[in-house]
C-alpha cells in the first residue's frame, strides 16, 4: 500500500514534469509578427528597454513597420531577428542567443539552486543526527516517551487543538 502510494506520487510528479517540459518546447517559433514583437526590445533610446510588443512610441512604431516590411518581403522569423541584431546588436533580442557566456545567465541560478539544495540536504542530515541513509522513508513513529513532562504538555495542547477528530 505504501509503495503504491509512493509510486502514484512519483507518477504524478513525472506527469507534471512532462507537462512542464512540453509546455516549454511546444511553443515552436510561429512565423507571426506578434511573436516577433515579443522577442524584440523596443529600440527607442528613451523608452527603457521594454519589449516591442507593448510599446507605442514613435521609435516602436518604426521598428514594427520594419518588421512588417521584412515579413512582406518574404523573410523568415530568423532572418528578421538577424536583421535586427545586425542593425542594433544582440541587446535588441529580449533574451540573448543561448551560447557562450550568455549561458551564464541561465546556468548560475540553476547552480545556486543546486548548491542551495546540497547545503540544505547536508544541513538536514547533520541536524537529523548524521544518519543520511534513510532520506526517503521516515521512520515509523517512535513511541512517545511518556516520562518527559514537556512532551506530555505538547501532546495535551495537540489534543486540545485538534479537537476530537
Amino acid at each position: 500500500m505504501k509503495t503504491w502510494k509512493r509510486n502514484g506520487l512519483m507518477a504524478l510528479l513525472g506527469i507534471g514534469l512532462v507537462l512542464a517540459i512540453s509546455a516549454g518546447t511546444c511553443v515552436a517559433r510561429a512565423a507571426d509578427i506578434p511573436t516577433l514583437e515579443k522577442e524584440l526590445i523596443n529600440p527607442c533610446p528613451n523608452c527603457g528597454g521594454m519589449p516591442l510588443a507593448g510599446s507605442y512610441c514613435g521609435g516602436a512604431a518604426e521598428a514594427k513597420a520594419k518588421i512588417r516590411t521584412l515579413a512582406a518581403a518574404g523573410k523568415t522569423d530568423q532572418e528578421i531577428l538577424d536583421a535586427f541584431v545586425a542593425e542594433y546588436g544582440e541587446w535588441i533580442l529580449v533574451t540573448p542567443p543561448r551560447r557562450g557566456f550568455n549561458l551564464m545567465a541561465w546556468f548560475l541560478p540553476l547552480l545556486g539552486i543546486v548548491i542551495g539544495s546540497g547545503g540544505l540536504a547536508l544541513f538536514l542530515r547533520r541536524a537529523r543526527g548524521g544518519t543520511g541513509n534513510r532520506s526517503e522513508s521516515p521512520r515509523p513513529p517512535a513511541p512517545e516517551p511518556a516520562a518527559d513532562p514537556s512532551r506530555n504538555r505538547y501532546r495535551e495542547i495537540l489534543r486540545r487543538e485538534l479537537g476530537e477528530i
Binding site: K5, A20, G49, G54, V94, P96, P109, G129
Partner: protein
Amino acid sequence: MIDLGQYSVLAALVLALIAAGLGVAAYRTRREDLLLSTRHAVMAAAFFTSLACLGIIYAFVVGDYQMEYIWGNSDRDMPLFYRLGALWGGQSGSILFWGWLLAMYSTGVAIRHRKDDLRLMAPAYVTLMTVLAFFLAIVNFASNPFRRGAFVQPDGVGLNPLLQHPAMVIHPPCLYMGLIGFTVPFAIAVGALVSGQLGNEWMKKARFWALVAWLFLGVGNILGGMWAYQELGWGGYWAWDPVENAAFMPWLAATAFVHSVMIQERKQMLRIWNMVLILVTFNLTVFGTFITRSGMISSVHSFAQSAVGYWFAGFLIVSAAFSIVMIAIRAKDLRSQHHLDSFFSRESTFLLNNLILLGGAFAVLWGTVSPMVIEGIRGVRISLGPPFFNQIMVPVGLALLLLMGVGPLVPWRRANWASMRRTFLIPTVLGIVAVAILYFMGVAHAYALVTFSFCAFVLWTIISEFHRGIRARRSSSGENPIKALGQLFVKGQRRYGGYIIHLGVVVIFIGFAGAAFNKQAETTLKPGETWNFRDYQLTYRGLRVENTPSVESVAADVLLEENQQPQAILLPRKDWYRKNKQLASEVAIHSTLGSDLYVILASFEDATEEASLKLYWNPLVSWYWIGGIVMVIGGILVLLPLNRRRTPIGA
C-alpha cells in the same frame, strides 16, 4: 519658505548625528538617561525632517516656482491630489521623503521599545540614525529640493504625465514604507550583533517591524503593477523590469525571514540563518535603491536616476561589508544546537520554503545584474527580458504555492506516514479533480492547469485548518461558529492571520494563471464600423477631442457590447501634455471578475477619423488585485494588537 526648508534639513542632519553620538555614549556607559536623550534626539530629528517635508508640500500647494524642484514637478493646473504626490515625484523630493519615512519609523521604534534593553536598543538607534544621516546628507549636499532656481519662473513644467495616476500617489509611499522599513529589523539585528544579546529577544522585536515592512512592500509591488497596467499600456502588470525586481528581491528574502523565525522560536534552531536573512533583506533594499537611483540598468523607471547613484554605491559597499564582518565576528556565539526529529516534518517544509524563496531571490538578482556582467566579459550589450524570468520564476512560484498547501498539513517534529496519507488524500484528489474538470472544459495550458490544481489543494488546506480550529474551540468552550472564528484570530493571531495571507496568495495565483490565456488583437476602424472579438462587439463611433490649457486629448468613442448587450462606453485616448511636450496613452479597461477587456488607441487619422485600436483580453486579472486586498487584510490581522486583551486586567 526656502530658508526654513534648508535650515530644517540641516538641523535634521545635525540632530541625527547627535542622536547617533548619544546612542554610542549610552551604549558605552550603560546610562539609561543617555538612552532617553538618544530617543529624544531621534524624535527631534524626525520633527525637523517633517518640517522640511511640510515645507515642500506648502511650496507645491502655493506654487512657489522659484524652487527648481517645484517648478520641475508641478504646474498651476495640477489638482491638489497630484501636488501632494509630487513630493516624491522627482529625485530630490523622494530622497527627502524617504528620509522622512525613516525618521517616522525611528520615532515608532523609540516609542514602541521605550522600555527595552539598553544594550540591544542603543546600537539599534545608532544604526537607524546613521542611515537617516546618510539620506539627509544627500538631501543637504547632493540633491537639495530646496535649491533656488536661476530666476523665478511664472509657472511650472508639470509632473511627468505617466506619474499622474491615483496609484502613483499611493504606490511610491507604500513601496518606500516597505523598503525603508527593513532598516528597523536590520537595526535591531545590529543591536543584537553588537551587544551579543543573541537570544530570541531581538528576533521577536525585529519580526514585528519586518512584518510591517513586508506588508507595505507587498502592497507597494501590487499597486505598482496596477499603475503599470493602467498607465503604461502594454496590457500587463509585471514586466521583470530591473526596478520591479529591485523591490521584489527583498520581499522574497523577507518572506523567508518571517517563516524561518518560527523555527527559531520553536526549536532554537537557525539563529545564524535568521540573522543572515535580515541582513540580506536590508542589503537587497539598499542594492535596489542603488540600481533605481543610479540608472545603471536601463528601466522604465528611469525618471528617478541621477548622480546620487555613487552615494548609494558607497552606502551599499559599507553596509554589505559591515554585515559580513558582524556575522563573521558573531558566528561562534550564534551557533545553535540543530536537531530535527525527522526529515518529514513541518520544520523541513519551512527549510525547503526558505531554499526556494532565496533561490528565487538569487535568480532575480542574477537576472538583473547578469546583462552587465556578461557585457563586462564579452563587451557586447545583451538584454534579459521577461521570458528569462518567467522560465525560472514560474516553477519557483509553483513550488512555493504547493509548499504553502503541504506545509500546514505536515505536523511539527515528525510526520506519521499513515496519518499523512489521510490528510493528503482529500486535497490531492481535489487538485486532480480540478485539473480533470478544467481540462475537459478546454483548458489546455499545462502551467495554468498545475496552478489551478495547486490552488485547489492549498484552498482546501486553509479551509480545513479553519474548520478544525473552529471545531476545537466550539467543543472546548461551546462558542457559536462566528465567535469561535473571531477567537481564532485573537488567540492564534499569527497562525490564522497567516492563513488569510496564504488565501490572498492563492487568489493572486489564480490571477497569474489567467495570464496564460491572454489574447490580443488589433484593427483599424472607420467611424460606424463594428469589430467582433470573441463574444464582444466594439462599435467605433468617432473621435472625441477635448482641450484644456495643459492637455490636448483625443479619445476614440467605442461602444462595447457583449452578446449584443451594451456593456460600457470605452474611451481609450491619447493625451498631449503641452508643457512637458509628452504624449501619453490612456487605456480604457472594462473589468469584470472573469476577464478584462483592455483597449488602447494606438493611432488615429485626423482627417478620416480612422482609429487603430489594440485590444488585450486578459482573463482573471481582477483576481490579482483582489488577492492583494485579501493579503492586506491578513497582514493587518497578524499585526493588530489583538492579543493585549489576554493580559488579565484584574490580576
